[in-house]
Every structure is written in structure tokens, then in C-alpha cells.
């Protein structure tokens, strides 16, 4: 903007922001795409791969992510210890019970570009299993990003008026009660 000083405009363009994402009831893949875009800096018009314009992203409630389908039982995470016979495969359930941050971390790691800046970008990703964040991170946060998936309401979360306003589709015939 023309009314700002040059130094203020420089600061506003190149400052590193801190974003917050709540991963409760969200698919970890969609959370990871949002994180990866912001860690690289692709959401900025001044993006360049060599310019290190990525921001910090804080993901909270990573213990409460939701997988669609039967991915908790079917999705496998593989690793190799480099020793013979060291190929290990773990289901998403087992991995999540061992480390609640691992699923989101691996998802983001796989979505970042395969170069040396990937490790620095992962250092700027902060994962927390629950919603209790440390003070210094809370002070740095600038914006909370909207959740990618709309959480459906449970039956007991509907009020009595809403339940009554919904029409009854069928009426029971007296003779069918036996």
C-alpha cells in the first residue's frame, strides 16, 4: 500500500506467520495438504523455492483425526531398519497408539518437495496431540485456518424443536403391531 513506509511494507511481505489448524474429526490427508502449502510458502505471491518464504504451522488435536473408510485397519505404514529381515509394517491404528503425531507428520513429509529444504520445513511444523499448546507458541499464532471437513452433528446434538420440525416419513399401521 502507498500509505505504508517501505520498511513496514517489507516486513508485512516477508514476515513469517504462524498458522493454527485444529485437526479434530478431520482427515489427516486434507490437513497435510493445507500444512504443506503453507510450509512451502505457496500461498504467497512472492513464492520462490530458494527464497525460504514458508510459514510456521501448528496442528493441534492430532490424536483426534478421523480416517474415512476402513483406513485405520487397512492403511499400512512401512519402514526398514536397514538390517536383513528388518522390514516392519504397522497399521494406522498401531502407529497412532504408539505416537499420535506420526500420521500427520508422515503425511506432511510425503507432500513436501523432495529436496534439502524439506527438513527445515518440517522443523517449522509443530504438532500437538491435544489442544493444550505451550505459552510461547500461543503468543506467536496469527491466524486459525478453517477446517477442511464439515463435522456432521450427532443425534443428541439436535435440539427438540429441530427434531419435531422434521416430518415423520411413515406412520405405523395398527394391525402391524403384534
Amino acid at each position: 500500500m502507498s500509505s505504508f513506509t517501505k520498511s513496514a511494507q517489507q516486513w508485512a511481505t516477508f514476515a513469517r506467520s504462524w498458522y493454527l489448524i485444529d485437526a479434530r474429526m478431520q482427515p489427516p490427508g486434507k490437513i497435510a495438504t493445507m500444512c504443506a502449502i503453507r510450509l512451502q510458502g505457496k500461498h504467497k505471491p512472492i513464492y520462490h523455492a530458494l527464497s525460504d518464504v514458508g510459514d510456521h504451522v501448528v496442528v493441534m488435536n492430532s490424536r483426534h483425526i478421523a480416517f474415512s473408510g476402513n483406513k485405520w485397519e487397512q492403511k499400512m505404514y512401512s519402514s526398514h531398519t536397514q538390517y536383513p529381515g528388518g522390514f516392519k509394517q504397522v497399521t494406522a491404528t498401531q502407529l497412532h497408539s504408539k505416537d499420535p503425531k506420526a500420521i500427520v507428520k508422515l503425511a506432511v513429509y510425503g507432500m513436501l518437495p523432495r529436496n534439502l529444504s524439506r527438513r527445515t520445513m518440517m522443523q517449522r511444523l509443530h504438532l500437538f496431540p491435544e489442544d493444550d499448546l505451550p505459552e510461547d507458541i500461543l503468543l506467536n499464532l496469527t491466524e486459525e485456518l478453517p477446517q477442511p471437513r464439515e463435522i456432521p452433528r450427532r443425534l443428541n446434538e439436535y435440539s427438540q424443536e429441530e427434531r419435531e420440525a422434521f416430518p415423520t416419513l411413515w406412520t405405523p399401521l395398527p394391525q402391524t403391531f403384534k
Binding site: 474429526m25 483426534h64 483425526i65 478421523a66 480416517f67 474415512s68 473408510g69 476402513n70 483406513k71 485405520w72 485397519e73 487397512q74 492403511k75 499400512m76 509394517q89 497399521t91 491404528t93 497412532h96 497408539s97 456432521p152 452433528r153 450427532r154 443425534l155 443428541n156 439436535y158 429441530e162 427434531r163 419435531e164 422434521f166 416430518p167 415423520t168 416419513l169 411413515w170 406412520t171 405405523p172 399401521l173 395398527p174 394391525q175 402391524t176 403391531f177
Partner: protein, 210 residues
């Protein structure tokens, strides 16, 4: 809701009088059917839900079935259809998240009501059953769990994992050990193919394999 309570009270009165009628050798109890209500001509003078009333005049007992006016609830836009879903034009429009709709077809312990009671056609009954299963697995029907026997102690604490659009039952699924390469990946099924014809209001198409 209110209509069902009224019908329940009618049924108790009918059942009480049915035993009396059978004892007095008078078959007054007629078969009762719901009749279509045309809003143009008003209520057709045909069979409806009746309340049995007994009157005693000296030595004669008169047992009469008085036609009960049905409650003026919201009428379906297509009353000539066979299935309640088609009567309300909801075919291909509901999903596992529409708990208010699904809760009308389930028992208190979470099971589906039989087709001969609800009046659903076969395909819609199956689709509703699939959506109810998915809603149970997503935890959207917390008050419709089956009652556990008293003194039941769970052996291991089950991991509380959030899930949605689960097609298969949790214990029946095996892990995919060899997923394959990107061009020939062994995909994970999501949702159910019975709901393939559902209306998509955005530009995104429905993916059944992730």
C-alpha cells in the same frame, strides 16, 4: 412423533375392545388402512383409523367404530408413491449424516425396523440400512447402542478412533500389506456403491476408492 403417540393410544383402546368383542361373539373389528388424502376434495369418505366406542342402553350394548380424523401433519409432496422415501422425494438425496431421517427407521438398540412395518421398498430399505451402519460406525447415533449385560467388564480398553464412511465392519477388515505402486495401487474403499447415484451439489464427483 405426536401422531405415533395418538396411534399408540388408539391401538391400546382397540386391543382392549377386541378381546371384549371376541368374548361377546361380535366381530366388529374391521381391517383399518390409511387412505390417501386429496387436499383438493378434502377427506374421502373411506376407511380410516377408527376409535371403538361402547354404549349401553338398557339391555342393548352398541359397539361402534367412529372414524378418527387423522392429525394434520405435513403431507408428502408425492402421496401416490409406494415407498415413504419416494413419497417425500428424498431418493438419492440422503447420506449417513442425515441422522434425523435415519433415526425414524431404527429401533432403540440401533437395529433396523422390518420392511413390512416401515413400508419401504427393497432398494431404499437396503440403502437406509447401509447409511445407518455407517452412522453407527461414525458415532452419530450414541443413544441407540444395544444394552450390555449387567456386570459386563470389557477385557481390553478399545481405542477410541474417529472414522466416517466406513463400508466394512471394523473386525472383519484385513490390512493391505502390499499396496503397490502409484499406477497400480490397491485402493481403500470408502462409502458404499449403493449410494453411487446420490445427488452431488458441488462440482466434485463421488469417489468410492481413495
Amino acid at each position: 412423533m405426536a401422531a405415533r403417540c395418538v396411534l399408540g393410544s388408539i391401538w391400546t383402546s382397540l386391543s382392549g375392545v377386541k378381546s371384549m368383542a371376541s368374548s361377546s361373539n361380535m366381530s366388529v373389528f374391521q381391517s383399518i388402512t390409511n387412505y390417501p388424502q386429496l387436499s383438493v376434495f378434502g377427506i374421502i369418505q373411506s376407511r380410516g383409523i377408527r376409535q371403538v366406542v361402547e354404549k349401553k342402553e338398557g339391555k342393548t350394548t352398541i359397539i361402534e367404530g367412529l372414524t378418527q380424523d387423522t392429525l394434520a401433519g405435513p403431507q408428502p409432496p408425492n402421496p401416490t408413491a409406494q415407498c415413504p422415501i419416494y413419497q417425500w422425494n428424498l431418493q438419492n438425496k440422503y447420506n449417513y449424516t442425515d441422522v434425523l431421517l435415519l433415526s425414524q427407521f431404527i429401533r432403540s438398540d440401533g437395529g433396523m425396523l422390518p420392511r413390512r412395518v416401515t413400508g419401504l421398498c427393497a432398494q431404499e430399505h437396503r440403502k437406509i440400512a447401509i447409511c445407518v451402519q455407517m452412522a453407527h460406525r461414525a458415532g452419530l447415533l450414541p443413544d441407540h447402542k444395544p444394552p450390555l449385560p449387567e456386570g459386563h467388564v470389557p477385557k481390553k480398553p478399545k481405542p477410541q478412533l474417529n472414522r466416517y464412511l466406513t463400508r466394512w465392519s471394523i473386525d472383519s477388515v484385513k490390512p493391505i500389506y502390499r499396496a503397490g505402486l502409484k499406477w497400480c495401487k490397491n485402493r481403500i474403499s470408502v462409502g458404499h456403491p449403493a449410494l453411487r447415484n446420490n445427488v452431488q451439489y458441488g462440482k466434485k464427483i463421488l469417489y468410492l476408492k481413495h
